[in-house]
């Protein structure tokens, strides 16, 4: 099966083509089955190949398709790499992708753009698979920009709404800022190593000066910041919630936004060599994690809460990468994919039940009406809050343990972040499902559980969120950490230091206790005292108001980048182009005409002019002769 790994991206491509060309003529259920079926086929192949790889001595397989770009010494084959890292991502993408496709069949059922939706979604999966399968940076870049395109198309899926279109465009443009960094990084890799294929580059990484490696690592990281929504390039992700909810689950939580993590893990040798780059990654990660978590505290839109939570969790993963805990971060990518996809799909089910309402101030008391959604979301919330033995607990704990070795301060900040996470997640849960219903009567009447095409994916994801921890059980419990062992061949210079067992126990205990305390606090606030989210913005306290408005970061970028850019364009256009440069050009033209009209006199037989010019000429000659002598 490994030899046929190209089938994995091929199936979604075929699905894309069928739905793209014939989607409008197809029956909705046929369209949906083709889309979901193509992902299922990919999943089956991916599983078979994964199993084969587990039994294989050789852990990295290169599958060459054709020669893509060649220019002198620059040779870029269209080539796939199947190894433990890419095989794991294939499973996440196709597995969760399949569940979300199934869910979408129910969720998008009444939408007129049904087949268009699946066209885009299949194309997205295709590009995402290219991204993780490529054996060189440029194929990764193809997938990278391709998923950006699909994200653009899907955020702006309801293209009649201007706000959605703006959000889509913002996502694409901000991602392109990162992409430029990535592209320059790829070029620097080529110039440094004479190749951009992973095997060639990584083998030579140790022979190059650290400063060059740092430049490469930082340029690549700019790309990761765009795609994985890190400060300051994160503002597009909350806006991206304009897209249909399954899109938020698949693209903006489980897969695409973790591409930056994938890239850093793939390039881990650079970051292991360059301490500077690692510090930057860790700091960016913790700042993002903390920053987004505080914003999450005061959001009222259920999807926005989850969006900021995603930004924050991504920051957490980068914190892990920055301290060298590569396999732990991949573990967190995996568990996060489970529980965040679950939470988004659950939110979609809530929105579905509420007839499109997303504001938790208008919800409340839903747990009796939509039981499956409630129970699954409860499990997801516990998982993300880090309560054992749910999956999130294990992955988060592993990262925090590594951070503790690295820096106590970062560990404290990481702990604060996870406490904030538990708090805003339970705030959301209580606000949505507990208390009295705060919506309209007709909404209350309309409340209903979603169809089984939507609830079954929720149940599966809930099971994964609960049990996913077994993939990486703590080693100091003397249990097998599969994740760690699986990724060993990919991590070139693993971090050797191990904490004493009693410290690990202590850290773990602290984490659990603090999470429990925060949940208790949230319970007191939102259940016992029934504190409700503030209705109107004006009623917020000054600090809260700043946080509520997302620290005015959007406004800041608007004033410092977007407006000046427009102004610059106007100045270049009106002043430089039309007035100055063209003015000079036309001036030359006029000067020529002017000289011509004077010279013309010499040709017109005007005796008077001839006499005058003769006199002037003679005078000039005389004066000139005297001057020279």
């Amino acid at each position: 099966m490994i030899k046929l790994i190209a089938l994995v991206p091929l199936f979604p491509l075929i699905g894309f083509l069928i739905n793209g060309f014939f989607g409008k003529k197809l029956n909705k259920s046929v369209s949906g089955v083709i889309a979901a079926g193509s992902i299922l086929a990919s999943f089956v192949v991916a599983v078979a190949a994964f199993v084969e790889l587990q039994g294989c001595e050789q852990k990295s397989h290169i599958i060459n398709l054709f020669s893509w770009i060649k220019s002198g010494t620059l040779q870029i084959p269209f080539e796939f790499l199947f190894d433990p890292l890419s095989s794991l991502f294939l499973l996440i993408i196709t597995g969760i992708g399949f569940l979300i496709h199934v869910y979408s069949i129910g969720y998008m059922h009444d939408d007129e753009g049904f087949s268009r939706f699946f066209t885009y979604l299949n194309l997205f999966v295709f590009f995402m698979l290219l991204l993780v399968l490529g054996n060189n940076y440029l194929i990764m870049f193809v997938g990278w920009e391709g998923v950006g395109l699909c994200s653009y198309l899907l955020i702006g899926f309801w293209f009649k709404n201007t706000a959605y279109n703006n959000a889509a465009r913002k996502a694409f443009v901000i991602n392109r800022i990162g992409d430029l960094g990535f592209l320059l990084g790829i070029i620097l890799i080529f110039i440094t190593f004479g190749s951009i294929s992973f095997d060639n580059v990584f083998a030579k990484a140790g022979t190059v000066s650290t400063s060059v490696i740092t430049s490469i690592a930082l340029l690549l990281f700019i790309g990761a910041m765009g795609k994985s929504a890190q400060v300051p390039l994160y503002t597009w992700l909350p806006d991206a919630m304009a897209g249909p909810t399954p899109v938020s689950a698949l693209i903006h939580a489980a897969t695409m936004v973790t591409a930056g993590v994938y890239m850093v893990v793939r390039s881990n040798i650079f970051y292991s060599i360059s301490d500077v780059a690692s510090e930057v990654v860790a700091l960016t990660g913790i700042i993002t994690a903390l920053f987004a978590a505080t914003i999450g505290l005061l959001q009222n839109d259920i999807k926005k809460i989850l969006a900021y939570s995603t930004v924050s969790q991504l920051g957490f993963m980068f914190l892990g990468l920055g301290v060298g805990a590569y396999s732990s971060s991949v573990f967190h990518v995996t568990t996060h994919a489970f529980f965040k996809a679950l939470l988004f799909l659950g939110a979609g089910s809530v929105i579905h039940a509420m007839g499109g309402e997303q504001d938790i101030r208008k919800m409340g008391g839903l747990k009796g009406h939509i039981k499956i959604t409630f129970i699954t979301m409860l499990l997801g919330t516990i998982a993300i809050s880090g309560i054992p033995p749910f999956s999130g607990f294990f992955s988060k704990d592993e990262i925090l343990a590594h951070v503790y070795e690295h820096s106590k301060l970062l560990w404290v900040l990481g702990m604060v972040t996870s406490m904030l996470t538990a708090f805003y997640m339970f705030r959301m849960l209580f606000g949505t499902f507990y208390g009295k219903f705060r919506g309209t009567n007709s909404q209350e009447h309309h409340l209903h559980e979603s169809p089984s095409s939507m609830t079954i994916p929720l149940i599966v994801l809930a099971a994964l969120s609960v049990l996913g921890g077994v993939l990486g059980l703590p080693e100091f419990w003397h249990l097998p950490n599969w994740m760690h062992h699986n990724l060993e061949p990919v991590i070139m210079r693993p971090d050797p230091s191990i904490l004493p067992h009693d410290t690990e126990w202590l850290l773990m205990g602290l984490a659990v206790a603090s999470a429990a305390a925060v949940i208790f606090l949230a319970h007191r606030m939102y259940r016992t005292y029934n504190v409700l989210p503030v209705e109107r913005e004006e009623d917020l306290k000054p600090v809260a108001k700043v946080i509520y408005n997302k620290y005015y970061v959007d406004e800041f970028f608007d004033k410092t980048i977007r407006k000046p850019l427009d102004l610059l364009g106007q100045i270049f256009h009106k002043f430089f182009d039309i007035a100055m440069i063209d003015g000079i050009v036309n001036g030359v033209g006029k000067a020529v005409t002017g000289v011509g009209s004077v010279v013309r006199l010499a040709q017109q037989g005007n005796i008077g002019f001839y006499v005058i010019s003769m006199v002037v000429g003679v005078v000039c000659i005389i004066v000139f002769t005297f001057l020279i002598k």
Binding site: W68, I69, K70, L138, L149, D179, L180, I581
Partner: protein, 486 residues
Amino acid sequence: MLTALLIGFPLLGALIVFFVKGNAARNFALGLSVLEFVLSLVAFAMYKNNPACTQLSFNHTWVQSLGINFSVGLNGISLLLVLLTTFLVPLIILSSYKNEYENPSSFYGLILIMQMALVGVFAANDGFLFYVFWELALIPIYFICLLWGGEGRSRITFKFFVYTLAGSLFMLVGLIYVYNHTNVEGLKSWAVQDMYNAGKSLTADQQGVVFWLIFIAFAVKMPVFPFHTWQPDTYVNAPTQGTMLLSGIMLKMGTFGVMKWLLPIVPLGLERWGNTAICISVIGVVYASCIAIVQKDFKRLIAYSSIAHVGLISAGIFSTTQQGLQGAVMQMLAHGVNVVGLFLIADILLRHTGTREIDKLGGIRGMNGNFAVLFLIVLLGSVALPLTNGFVGEFLLINGLYQYSAIAAAFAGLSVILGAVYMLRSYQGIMLGERKDNHLTFGSLAATDKAVLIIICSVIIAFGVYPKPLNEMAEEGVKILLSNIK
């Protein structure tokens, strides 16, 4: 011989078309240009088979006493550009079917004459012949713009004509200067290889002067900042087919000229002034992109985006690296195809809605989904998304430029971001949202428009996914070029 045929055939075609009355003229023109395309495919296949084949070169004495020969030939780079020309001309003719031009026989005849001159420019192996074709190309496009252009055309076309002609005269002086230094057994020669040798025998100072004399003509033609102010008005005012000829093919005369008639002649001049040329090219990239952002007329926006694209091409050429030059060739091909698509889209908008003003359009996505998809694909090619034809060139260009200077690459790379800004903004304004004008309707596309757009979109994707056939030839051509510069 085949090359001479490729030049002569359009001229013959033009003569036929001149005498065909009415709209039949365009059918003749289309048929003949398709035949020409087939001929060029034959040439392509022959070259692929055997790059040394003699059928592609032709030499006939013209003015013996002055050493002028009718000497033409095709190799990697020039063959690709001839292929671009012969591929685009039928599409340009086909795209005109919905425009009712007065006096069609002259219009289409002039397009074919233009094609002859363009092929001649790319194929000429004699300096004098090159100059003759170069100036010859100006005449048909001058009349096309003057007779079928929009409002204010006489002033604008006059400026265009004088501006480019003035540039060309500098080039003529430069070429004659080099010619005067040729010495083949006591005789002077215009042959390209002799010109190369003569140019290299000059001192660095002399080469520096010749560099500017020749470069100005090319800089005006492309155009690179700050020689570009004739371009936006001319592009906007010319009839759509004229704009397509100008931007799709004619500007490649400038970039091609730099490759064949500048770099190998004055390598020392390049050493001294190449940095300046890269500077103005790169400034032009950002400058024109910023201006494109604030344009209201979609056609003018494309005009400025074209300046940005060509600035990057020019910068890549002057980096004189394998990747930079090869990227330039690939981007010339891609830009030619994409810009024709974009100008056709501008024309379709105008024909269907009566305006190209971005602010007045909107909501077309909902009225014609197919058009929206085709537009999007062309747009993606233009912003160089991977797996479109634009990406291969852009990646190689920035790569080559980076080897020359990392800062220049980063600065020019801003076009990656700015291009997305102005293209997506205009796409949103034109296609998405609700329609701003309730009377706006947008029916289905005419069959000819649809055919042209589908062909263009297919090329965009096909050569983005599998650029190898073109890329291989560009690679070989650039290797030969580099060996001539060294």
